[in-house]
């Protein structure tokens, strides 16, 4: 019977923050970095784990990999309790921190990969086959014998991915793997990850701020905000939320009363500029034509809210953020 790759139930991680409050007195305050998160990741899934800085992403990753112990709740990764079975679990996990390489800085990439075999106790034959496969997929051959310090960031990330996958882990945890990479390197890394997931069946959990990563790779997205899961669902569901909230910014010749058109009323008026929210069913072209016929319109901008804006809104805890707060360029 297949066991869930990750099972998190009401996981809490609270930290005690000490602050000096005048003189020698200190106040202690418990901060819940992760505040009751529950989710399940099945084998073979490719999940994007998103959230603004400080939302609890890294804390969750650290609990999943056994670096940190959860304050309460139950957590199972590969069927193991990560905090109790950290080293056993380490052999079944691949972890890549995008901002930090685990490769040996002064040695050729080949040596770091050879060392990974010893650290993870992989049999020589299995290692050879796996190394050949990864070398081909990640195109490592040209720089296998180059010291890691001389590699470009993109090459180093490919090296790190190879090192994390040499022991054929069941679960690959990636913390911002494409950070700082150029367009070509990003594409290489993304293609590779997609293949690892579909061909090898490796479960992948990825945190990123790069929306390209999500759109290209993740079938499922989890968004954490202030320690709580704000969204957990398919990428399609997230997109539908986006489509429902297109926004029309109209700049009239002169200030006037709020526009009312086919049951759509301006949400916001700021001098000659008005904001209209279009329902999903509305035909934007027809609405624009009607607007131009009835009003003296200077300019119109249709704001196709991308995932970026949905995230920005979710991150701010204000779902209608982009409809209210920020002036939209005409």
């Amino acid at each position: 019977m297949p066991v869930a790759m990750i099972e998190a139930e009401d996981v809490v991680k609270s930290f005690t923050v000490r602050a000096r409050s005048g003189g020698l007195r200190r106040t202690r305050r418990a901060v819940r970095a992760v505040d009751g998160v529950s989710f399940t990741v099945e084998p073979g899934e490719f999940v994007g784990y998103l959230g603004p800085n400080g939302a609890g992403k890294s804390t969750t990753i650290k609990m999943l990999t056994g670096i940190l112990t959860a304050s309460s709740g139950t957590l199972r990764v590969c069927g193991l309790d990560p905090s109790r079975r950290r080293t056993v679990l380490a052999r079944r996990l691949g972890v890549v921190f995008g901002q930090r390489t685990t490769l040996w800085w002064d040695l050729p990439l080949r040596d770091s990969l050879a060392l990974a075999r010893r650290l993870y106790r992989v049999e020589a034959a299995a290692h050879r086959a796996r190394l050949a496969e990864l070398t081909a997929l990640l195109e490592l051959a040209p720089f296998l014998d180059t010291p890691v310090r001389q590699l470009s960031l993109g090459q180093r990330m490919r090296g790190d991915l190879a090192a994390a996958l040499l022991h054929d882990p069941e679960l690959l945890v990636l913390d911002e793997p494409t950070i700082g990479l150029d367009v070509v390197s990003k594409a290489t890394v993304r293609d590779f990850l997609a293949r690892v997931n579909t061909e090898r069946g490796t479960t992948i959990l990825l945190t990123t701020h790069d929306l390209g990563d999500i759109e290209r790779l993740c079938r499922r997205v989890m968004i954490i905000d202030r320690g709580r899961l704000a969204f957990d669902g398919g990428l399609d569901a997230l997109r539908r939320t986006v489509d429902a909230d297109r926004l029309l910014v109209v700049e009239l010749a002169r200030p006037g009363p709020p526009i009312v058109l086919d049951g759509i009323e301006a949400e916001r008026v700021e001098g000659p500029r008005q904001w209209l929210r279009l329902p999903r069913s509305a035909n934007a072209a027809a609405v624009i034509a009607e607007l131009a016929r009835v009003h003296d319109v200077r300019d119109i901008a249709l704001r196709e809210s991308g995932i970026e804006e949905v995230l920005a809104g979710l991150y701010r805890g204000d779902h209608a953020y982009w409809c209210s707060g920020r002036p939209v360029a005409p």
């Binding site: 066991v3 991680k13 930290f15 005690t16 804390t59 650290k62 990999t65 056994g66 670096i67 940190l68 112990t69 304050s71 590969c78 069927g79 193991l80 309790d81 905090s83 079975r85 950290r86 080293t87 056993v88 380490a90 052999r91 996990l93 972890v95 921190f97 930090r100 685990t102 040996w104 800085w105 002064d106 040695l107 040596d111 060392l115 010893r118 650290l119 993870y120 106790r121 010291p147």
Partner: protein, 284 residues
């Protein structure tokens, strides 16, 4: 289910854990040596510097004792015997575990997290960090001084006294090693205690290099019981040099070093585990 199977496997593997750890230590140390060898010029220069510094160290000691032939009733070769055994034990422990005092740095930099996701003890990973054959240079003055002292101290060698010399070096190494780990573990709690831990280890090494009678009696008593540094070499040296104990401790104390070493190592290991647990629950 998978959990239970893995648990049984871990139980069976309990025996080879130590050899596994030693093998991993050797592997990582060797990798660091090869990394250092990528800069041959720098490696040679550093080796020469170490040789010069340690040579000066040995010369200074000999010079010092040439002018002060007797310290607190001990003849120069006897003092040098104390110095040599202590410096050798400290030097070996420094080579093997000295970098554990960098723990605070790794916590602050977040590099400890990267160590924790590998299936290797973070203690081994930190201890082997930047391992270099240069570290062995620290042993040169200790070995020279000890060789001189053994030749000149006029010890009435019996089989027991001959056996005591390596036994006290090994016990001393283990005691200092336990203290290194203890000092590292303390940093889990007091992240900025780098200076504090230095005074435990380096200060301790200084203390054992001179006859205890130089220091106030109460202080020595405290050191004997609180920080068992006196067992690094003082108590066994009294046996080798056939001296009465100024504190009047029972004769068994002279042979207690191995037991003290086991105790200090157990304490260090327990503190390390507790420190790691603390880190993993607080994240700092």
């Amino acid at each position: 289910m998978a959990d239970r199977t893995a648990g049984r496997a871990a139980g069976r593997a309990a025996g080879p854990v130590l050899t596994g750890t030693l093998a991993m230590y050797g592997l990582l140390a060797w990798t660091w040596i090869r990394a250092a060898a990528q800069y041959p010029v720098s490696m040679v220069l550093l080796a020469l510097t170490t040789a010069a510094v340690t040579g000066l160290d040995a010369a200074a000691i000999l010079l010092l004792f040439a002018h002060a032939p007797r310290i607190a009733g001990f003849a120069a070769p006897e003092v040098l015997f104390l110095y040599g055994t202590s410096a050798l034990a400290f030097g070996i422990s420094d080579i093997v575990l000295g970098t554990t005092e960098r723990l605070g740095y790794h916590v602050r930099q977040g590099t400890l997290d990267a160590m924790l996701v590998r299936p290797v003890s973070p203690l081994v990973q930190i201890a082997t960090e930047e391992f270099s054959p240069r570290r062995f240079g620290k042993l040169v003055p200790a070995v020279l001084v000890l060789a001189y002292a053994l030749a000149e101290a006029g010890v009435d060698w019996t089989p027991g006294r001959v056996a005591m010399v390596p036994a006290m070096v090994v016990s001393g190494t283990a005691i200092f090693g336990g203290l290194w780990v203890l000092a590292g573990a303390v940093q889990f709690v007091l992240i900025d205690s780098h200076g504090a831990s230095k005074s435990v280890t380096y200060g301790g090494a200084f203390l054992t290099q001179y006859p205890m009678t130089m220091f106030a009696r109460d202080f020595v008593r405290g050191v004997t019981f609180v920080v068992p540094l006196a067992f690094v070499n003082w108590q066994p040296a009294l046996y080798v040099l056939d001296r009465p104990d100024p504190l009047g401790l029972p004769g068994a104390a002279r042979f207690a070093s191995p037991a003290v070493a086991v105790l200090v190592c157990a304490l260090g290991a327990a503190a390390w585990r507790a420190g790691l647990r603390h880190y993993r629950s607080t994240g700092s």
